[in-house]
């Protein structure tokens, strides 16, 4: 099973986790090729999770997370853990929060893009709030007041990590412990003292984060619900059974289409047993077909189940056309219409070699009841 990557900005925040990685057996995997090693963050590893230290600031957090999570190991999720500041009087030091959405402020203005965090089943046990990552440290009251309108918590890295996770299509979560309250700070000296005091208390903060992680987050990371939500979202096993069926071959795009179609059937409340029956029927009745041909036929049948209206329309049009066509022209003529039915009318494709063919074509066109044809296309069934 894939493990999560726990990402911290500072070694101090990660101290309690690093102790655990040292106690646990180290995984000998070499993550980074030599050329990349100087750029990479510090990565510690154990069997349950890896721990990455990115250093300070959004860009460093983004680069290091991108590198760590794109090399070799496939992570189930990227989880930022660490301390943050609280921007209003309702918040208290040592409060632990699940982050709902991560925003950023570049010093002049908020940045438009945001990153909603993935939800775990345990999250109702933890208070939640939004977080804003800033380019510079927030030390003063006035700044705190303005930022608080966007988000009540502030850090300097989560946005970069969330960005990297999005790029890599890995789900992202963030959990933060409040270490200081800059809205209480009067002037700069006082603010600097706060930074010192946070550093001094970092091991205590780290232990508290570790405790919260172990009790409220880790058990749910391994839970079945979580694993299911990260799979392809189809509740039943139908998808994997069909993909693994040796008598069927789905190309990459066909697999995607299959996943989407099965999801739609589920939303429609269709019993997926029907799909299994269809597949079994194809294998039994068409032993000479290639596996890809059967897969393609199965997709077609599912599409008909999902699009009964269009299927019926096509049948009605085909019947109408076949009414007038003579056997001689039937094999030589191809009549098409817009499969989405946005355009009225039809298109004829044929090859004319002689006068006989020309006459057959004219007869064929004349045999089609155009008024009835367009009526069907107008929804008069």
């Amino acid at each position: 099973m894939n493990k999560p990557l726990l990402v911290f900005a500072h070694p101090g925040e990660a101290a309690a986790f690093l102790e655990q990685t040292q106690k646990a057996k180290l995984d000998p995997t070499v993550y980074f090729p030599p050329a990349i090693q100087p750029l990479a963050g510090k990565l510690h590893t154990c069997s349950r999770y890896d721990v990455l230290i990115t250093g300070e600031g959004i860009f460093s957090a983004m680069n290091k997370t991108l590198l760590a999570a794109s090399q070799g190991v496939k992570y189930s999720s990227i989880i930022n853990l660490g301390i943050c500041a609280g921007l209003n009087s309702k918040l208290a030091i040592n409060d632990f929060y699940k982050i709902r959405t991560v925003y950023a402020h570049n010093g002049n203005a908020p940045m438009f893009q945001s990153f909603p965090c993935h939800e775990l089943n345990s999250d109702s046990e933890i208070k939640s709030a939004d977080l804003m990552s800033t380019f510079d440290r927030v030390l003063e009251q006035a700044q705190a007041k303005e930022l608080n309108i966007f988000a009540p918590l502030v850090d300097r890295e989560a946005y970069g990590m969330a960005w990297a996770a999005k790029e890599l299509n890995i789900e992202f979560m963030a959990y933060k412990l409040i270490s200081d309250l800059p809205y209480q700070n009067g002037h700069e000296d006082e603010a600097q003292n706060i930074c010192e005091s946070i550093k001094e208390q970092s091991s205590l903060f780290s232990e508290k984060i570790y405790y919260e992680f172990q009790s409220k987050i880790a058990p749910y990371l391994d839970s079945k619900e979580h694993i299911q939500s990260t799979a392809n979202n189809i509740k039943s096993d139908t998808y994997s059974q069909l993909i693994q069926n040796k008598d069927m071959h789905f190309t990459v795009s066909m697999s995607k289409a299959l996943g989407k179609s099965l999801k739609k059937l589920e939303l429609k409340g269709v019993d997926l047993e029907k799909v299994h029956l269809l597949a079994d029927g194809l294998v039994k009745n068409y032993p000479d077909w290639r596996p890809k041909q059967r897969a393609s036929e199965l997709l077609k049948a599912i599409s008909e189940m999902l699009n009964p209206f269009r299927t019926q329309l096509s049948k009605n049009l085909e019947e109408l056309i076949n009414l007038g066509l003579t056997p001689q022209i039937k094999d030589r003529i191809n009549i098409k219409w817009d499969k989405d039915f946005e355009k009225r009318g039809f298109q004829i494709n044929t090859w004319i070699e002689n006068e006989e063919h020309r006459k057959q074509l004219v007869d064929a066109i004349n045999s089609i009841d155009l008024e009835k044809f367009t009526q069907i296309q107008d929804g008069n069934l």
Binding site: N88, R100, T101, Q113, S114, F150, E342, Q377, G379, N380
Partner: protein, 338 residues
């Protein structure tokens, strides 16, 4: 429950502001200079409206009255809309607001007198261009439900005064709520119409999250009609389901039982459709919605819709049923886009 109210300093003491604060429960209040510095400046996930909804009380700046999109053109008369608020407390799965603003937070505008002054200018300018029997229409509810919070926002009576004086101006208040008390307090006027968007009960239960049930909306319509107020119906959006015709038959039966349908001002019908962006938002916000299992296609104008024959068939089925109820053809508006 509103998490934070952010109020523009200039209107903090405005009586409408005070009423909003009195009527809508909230946790905090903060004063700001200009709501536009904050609202929609970052992309706030739409579904955060469920547990972290903020609201702004502000003054609407810029163009206060705008020409209405074609879909409003019920009668070949000029149509305009004004904006009293942004966003909505309800959560219809198909709502186009989820792709429109970058935030679900509510904005209440309180400078209605300025909006009404602008309406007067538009009315005076337009009325001279029109033949004597033509009206000038104004609509509320383009970016928010017109009545859902009207007991708190308290602006309806201000607009009522305007329409009492300007007899050839028509007002449409579009709603999915049953919150009609503010209207019941007022004298019925022939040129104020409250229009209710309705779907069959089961469909509304599935899709119109947090709105009053279809039954309650119909009862509200009936109360209004019985007190002499004008009502209209929007059968929009119509969503296909296997028993679609039966479901609408039942809806029309319920309407017929509770209203004098011949006195309904108009009935419009439109089949569900989405811009590409809104559809993507619906997929993201409501992945389990059965709307995604429907036979949607990308249609001629890039919108996501049912195939053309299907939408035409659905609309004509609705029309047939309405005609059977003896509703005058002239009162039925089918939203056929082609």
């Amino acid at each position: 429950m509103i998490e934070n109210f952010y109020i523009e300093e200039e209107i903090f003491r405005h009586p409408l502001t005070e009423n909003i604060l009195k009527r809508i429960p909230h946790k905090n209040i903060e004063l700001i200079q200009n709501y536009a510095d904050f609202f929609g400046r970052v992309k706030k996930p739409y579904l955060q409206k469920r547990n972290n909804l903020n609201a702004f009380i502000a003054q609407k700046k810029g163009q206060l009255v705008k020409s209405a999109p074609d879909a409003y053109g019920l009668s070949g008369e000029p149509h305009f809309y004004y904006i009293h608020a942004y966003n909505c407390i309800y959560e219809c799965e198909y709502c186009y607001l989820q792709g429109h603003f970058n935030s679900p937070d509510l904005v209440f505008f309180v400078n209605h007198n300025e909006i009404i002054a602008e309406m007067q200018k538009v009315y005076d300018r337009e009325i001279i261009k029109q033949e004597a029997d033509k009206k000038i229409w104004f609509h509320a509810g383009e970016f928010s439900d017109s009545l859902a919070l009207s007991h708190a926002t308290n602006e309806i009576s201000l607009y009522h005064n305007f329409f009492e004086i300007n007899k050839r101006a028509m007002l449409e208040l579009r709603t999915k709520s049953a919150n009609i008390n503010e209207i019941l307090k007022l004298k019925p006027l022939p040129n104020i119409v409250t229009s209710f968007s309705l779907s069959p009960s089961q469909r509304a239960k599935k899709t119109d999250l947090k709105t009053p049930s279809t039954k309650h909306r119909i009862l509200a319509m009936s109360k209004l009609q019985n007190s002499g107020h004008k009502v209209a119906i929007h059968l929009d959006p119509i969503v296909y389901e296997d028993n679609f015709q039966v479901a609408y038959q039942e809806l029309f039966h319920e309407l017929d039982q509770n209203l004098d349908l011949t006195k309904v001002e108009y009935i419009s019908a439109g089949v569900v459709r989405f811009t590409k962006d809104v559809y993507a938002q619906v997929e993201k916000n409501y992945p389990q919605s059965d709307i995604h299992a429907a036979e949607m296609i990308k249609s001629f104008d890039g919108k996501v819709r049912y195939p053309r024959p299907m939408r035409r068939w659905m609309l004509s089925s609705i029309e047939d049923q309405l005609l059977k109820l003896k509703i005058n053809t002239e009162k039925i508006y089918l939203c056929m886009e082609d």
